[in-house]
Symmetry: C2
Subunit: 351 residues, 2 copies
């Protein structure tokens, strides 16, 4: 019996994934040269579908890397000469900050309590010499998120600084105002319901222009190389071509459903998930303003391992808490690839 | 009608690829956590099958990255503090050298004429302050290779320097003596007949120990992080899990055929390919000692585009020459995934 994965990534595959990969095998997509017209059309298709789905304007380019983790490193290398600021609301924002330190940069760091986040984001002071403000729009480890209008507000306060936000587990749900966000990224093994191995990096010219001024920015996947190759929908080196093909197809399927419908279903399910509050499970995040709609974290009387033993009869799988919260919390993905029947089976088990 | 790709990468998919990916979809491999026991077993399986296939000893670890291009950067970052030496016999060896320069290192560079390579590799002098010697065992752009015993000989001459060789388009064919080679790597979209998106990095403790002494080695996929995670068959961040699964399965299939048989067939086909010598096609590489058995380059009276129009009736595809040789040369892969019928059809067309 096929399982339904409520894990937060790798996650449940999108319902059309199997069909698209079968087509890709038949069409020999895996053998296509990344310098061929067929590949350029695939890239362009994924680009167009993502633009439609996430309302990405022409001011921004869409580049492909191996993972969001790789993109963290490339962002710091390409857009920070000296200093970055970080709003850390969990383990992944912390790792992003640690990457900046490991790359020899100075960092200004604000860290929230576990599960609390930054409901007053625009009120924080950013040092004058900070070049890039790093935020986590949706923190996969703690289930806290940042309201998109707060990103716009902090950008308005610091218009000369680059603003970056991590959409790893909230794309395409999050409604980002790209006039405020210079740089964002996600990986496909979350809400897009694909196997891991592809990261998507969305940047504007301010980031690309900044990278031109920076000397030591690595050798591979620099923004300049990306921008040069992007003009003809190519990549600096051989990318995960099959992943790009699948992403284009799944984004197209999501466009057929419509992003408004995806958001409505996500909101409705999030409401049901957050109503769970009993002796075994309580939502970690209390402040409604920072509750993630796509990755729900519960304080749990029993571990994910024990939950998974209980719900194995229904072929359901949830994720453990992250790091030190591995035993005391569970995480539940609310991604579009999850079927309605499995969703309500999980709810019945939780109730 | 399905095509047979004689392109040098992305290349013809291995005959069992379609079956393995169907199994992976059924087994929901794409949803597996990279911190789960199921993933660790997949990694271990790929590791064991590669060790058997390529005779990789316990002295070496096997790590997964996104591509050989990424691995170039990680090698320089992790094993070179000041200076690397490069034997450049084509465009890819040159790019590897340029990565070292872009990362701020000094370089000692030997460059061969196009199609000539380094038949006397051990006779070249390497500067005393060079830490890493970079060679291309098989240069995909020019079809020249280095006999494995010459790699052993240069290591014997410079035992205190690290020796690296690029097996991108010769693994698993090349018979490497891992007591001489500290570091090597390949990507799976060549002879392993898989879609792109996975690079394999094989290093010994000398490389890992060297990386500990180096300060600015990037933040992502450092050798120290790899080594730490490898103890339990894990990776520093979410890898291309599906790719690792498929690589293990295809390496297992290759082991069933037997590496000796794969080498015999490769040798026999290479002999047939190099016999082609007519007014339209002449082998580029004249010196038998440096002729690649896996990537054959021809000087061609007509371009690959024209060849592909001619051989489209048999559903065959060859690759163009690289860079400035795009119109005047063609490249033909001699990889294990290519069927016998298609191979002889190509030969008949060439004759």
């Amino acid at each position: 019996m096929a399982k339904t994965f409520f894990t937060v990534g790798p996650a449940q595959l999108y319902p059309t994934f199997a069909q698209h990969i079968a087509t890709a095998v038949n069409e020999q997509v895996g053998s296509l040269s990344h310098r061929s017209e067929a590949f350029r059309k695939m890239y362009q298709h994924a680009d167009e579908q993502l633009r439609q789905l996430m309302n990405i304007p022409k001011t921004h380019s869409i580049f492909f890397a191996a993972s969001a983790t790789e993109i963290w490193e490339r962002i710091i290398l390409n857009t920070v000469a000296e200093k970055s600021a970080h709003f850390v609301s969990g383990a992944f924002g912390k790792k992003f900050m640690e990457f900046s330190k490991a790359l020899g940069k100075q960092t200004q760091v604000y860290t929230s309590e576990h599960g609390e986040g930054f409901p007053n984001l625009p009120e924080y002071k950013i040092a004058a010499d900070v070049e890039l403000i790093c935020t986590t729009q949706n923190e996969t480890s703690s289930g806290v998120s940042i309201r998109p209008d707060l990103l716009s507000a902090i950008k308005q306060k610091y218009p000369s600084k680059l603003l970056c936000t991590d959409l790893v587990s909230s794309a395409p749900y999050a409604q980002i105002d790209f006039t405020a966000v210079d740089c964002t990224f996600f990986s496909v093994q979350k809400a897009f319901g694909m196997p891991a191995g592809l990261g998507v990096w969305i940047v504007n010219d301010a980031c690309i222009n900044k990278s031109v001024t920076i000397k030591n920015k690595g050798a591979h996947n620099t923004l300049e190389d990306y921008a040069k190759n992007y003009k003809t929908f190519e990549t600096p080196s051989t990318p995960n071509t099959l992943g790009i093909y699948l992403l284009g197809k799944i984004a197209e399927d999501m466009n057929k459903v419509g992003i408004d419908n995806i958001r409505k279903i996500t909101d409705a399910r999030a409401e049901i998930l957050y109503k769970i509050n009993n002796e075994k499970l309580q939502p970690l995040v209390n402040d409604l303003a920072v509750r993630s709609k796509t990755t729900i974290v519960y304080k749990s009387a029993i571990s994910a391992k024990e939950w998974n033993a209980l719900i194995a009869k229904d072929a359901l799988v949830v994720a453990s808490g992250y790091g030190t919260f591995k035993e005391s919390e569970i995480r539940v993905a609310n991604f579009p690839g999850i079927g309605e029947e499995a969703f309500f089976q999980l709810i019945r088990n939780f109730e």
